[in-house]
């Protein structure tokens, strides 16, 4: 197995097994969405209108959950030092770790979204649009989050700071993700306009995220 494949499999195993964050994210997602009707009142028409926004917001918060352990756990058990000394470029390793994180936290959210959307009175078309936007948008959340996770790697209370640092940077993704999900259902702009910008944001973050995170790790671990 190549080093990158080994890291991918290892990270996914850690996330899925006891103590991992994979299913915790989905559970958190469910709990946040359940709280909203208690706060807003069970008005189905209102929930249908703001449903995509709520699901996007819940997905954003849920994808932040496991991020603070992404590099910190590796730092504590020493594997981060091995990764830094290894011959594989750190940027690619970081990207692979991001992919593993997305596969274990982002992907379950996308699978769960249409079912949880039933609580918010989403119809099939809205649910499909939502899944598509989440599928394109959540990798951006993970890869922007990588930067924060790398900056906070040696901090004792990194989790809170991570949210403060990362959430402002994710705002464009949130704006265009929700805009695309809404455009598919109510318009008035065509679905493609915000959706292509969302794709562009994701592609940009796939490039910027690993480089910035790798730079931060190198600086932190000096």
């Amino acid at each position: 197995m190549t080093p990158l494949g080994a890291i991918l499999v290892r990270d996914m195993r850690i996330a899925i097994r006891v103590g991992g964050g994979a299913l915790m994210g989905v559970l958190f997602f469910l709990v946040v969405v359940t709280l909203v009707p208690f706060a807003l009142g069970p008005d189905l028409a209102l929930l249908k209108r703001i449903g995509p926004a709520i699901l996007w917001l819940a997905a954003l918060l849920a994808s932040l959950l496991a991020l603070d352990r992404l590099f910190a756990a590796d730092h504590e058990d020493g594997s981060l030092d091995l990764i830094l000394m290894g011959r594989t470029p750190l940027e690619i390793v970081v990207a692979v770790k991001g992919i593993a994180h997305w596969l274990t936290t982002g992907l379950p959210l996308i699978v769960a979204a249409p079912f949880i959307g039933l609580f918010l009175n989403l119809d099939a078309k809205a649910a499909a649009a939502l899944m598509l936007t989440l599928l394109v948008g959540t990798p951006a959340l993970t890869f922007i989050g990588l930067i924060g996770a790398a900056i906070a790697v040696t901090l004792r209370r990194g989790g809170l700071l991570l949210a403060v640092l990362v959430l402002p940077l994710t705002v464009p993704v949130l704006i265009f993700g929700v805009a695309a999900a809404n455009a598919a259902v109510v318009g008035p702009v065509p679905f493609g306009t915000p959706f292509t910008i969302l794709c562009a944001l994701t592609l940009a973050s796939l490039v910027v995220g690993p480089f910035a995170a790798a730079a931060a790790l190198r600086q932190e671990m000096e």
Binding site: A150, I151, T154, V164, L165, V171, A212, A216, Q219, E220
Partner: protein, 242 residues
């Protein structure tokens, strides 16, 4: 004097000691002139006297963005050249830039109430400036979280570089989206869209605030260097006892 010479903190302190009174004095003179000009400037034919808020609002916006630009250049200085003064510059610029961004937001909000009928709208320009403010707060929080100054400098430098993406978004937000905020009216192709009777006081006020920014930045950098000396002395004292 080259920037490389200022890497020596003692030399920088001498430079700051000589420069700060002059810069500060110049700022006071330009402020006195600018405030006078701003007060005698004619009212806008539609907005009346509320247009005078602009003399605070525009410099606030400009310096909020300049602050981040200074931090971005300093971040490059930290990461690429390891210039010791770059860390100090970045740390000193953050609270000042945040304060000017807040000034821009507050004055804009007070101006929006009589003109737009609301303190706040979620349009692109306002939102991107609010994000800049949040990014400033995040950077300040990061500075305050890491106890070793040079490690904190490198971590914030990376965050600063990533956050610099917000600057062009702020600048072009009024062109890319239809917003309630007016489009660029000073720096644009062709003549400015503002009458010289208001534009000239605006330039003077902007110059005054920029001088104040430079004075505050230098003073704050001097304080930071002295703070680090105190920290080093304390560490030495502690290790001498132990």
């Amino acid at each position: 004097m080259a920037i490389a010479d200022l890497a020596n903190p003692s030399r920088f302190l001498r430079f700051a000691k000589r420069t700060i009174p002059w810069l500060g004095g110049l700022a006071v003179v330009v402020f006195a002139f600018g405030i006078n000009q701003a007060l005698v400037a004619p009212d806008d034919y539609q907005q009346g006297a509320t247009v005078k808020i602009m003399f605070l609002h525009v410099p606030g916006a400009w310096l909020g963005m300049l602050g981040w630009a200074v931090m971005t250049i300093a971040a490059l200085g930290t990461l690429v050249w390891r210039h010791p003064l770059a860390d100090v510059t970045a740390k000193a610029a953050a609270p000042i830039g945040a304060a000017f961004t807040l000034m821009c937001l507050v004055t804009g909000s007070l101006w929006g109430r009589p003109m737009w009928g609301t303190y706040w709208v979620w349009d692109a320009r306002l939102t991107s400036v609010l994000l800049l403010f949040l990014l400033y707060l995040g950077v300040i929080a990061l500075w305050r979280t890491v106890d070793d100054p040079s490690r904190a400098a490198r971590a914030t430098a990376i965050l600063t570089l990533v956050g610099a993406i917000d600057l062009p978004i702020i600048k072009f937000s009024v062109d890319w989206w239809n917003t309630l905020h007016q489009p660029a009216s000073v720096f644009r192709l062709g003549a400015p869209a503002i009458d010289p009777s208001i534009l000239i006081p605006l330039f003077i006020m902007t110059a005054a605030f920029t001088l104040a920014f430079a004075t505050l930045l230098l003073a704050s950098m001097r304080n930071e260097i002295l703070r680090r000396r105190v920290r080093t002395l304390r560490l030495m004292q502690a290790s001498a006892v132990a």
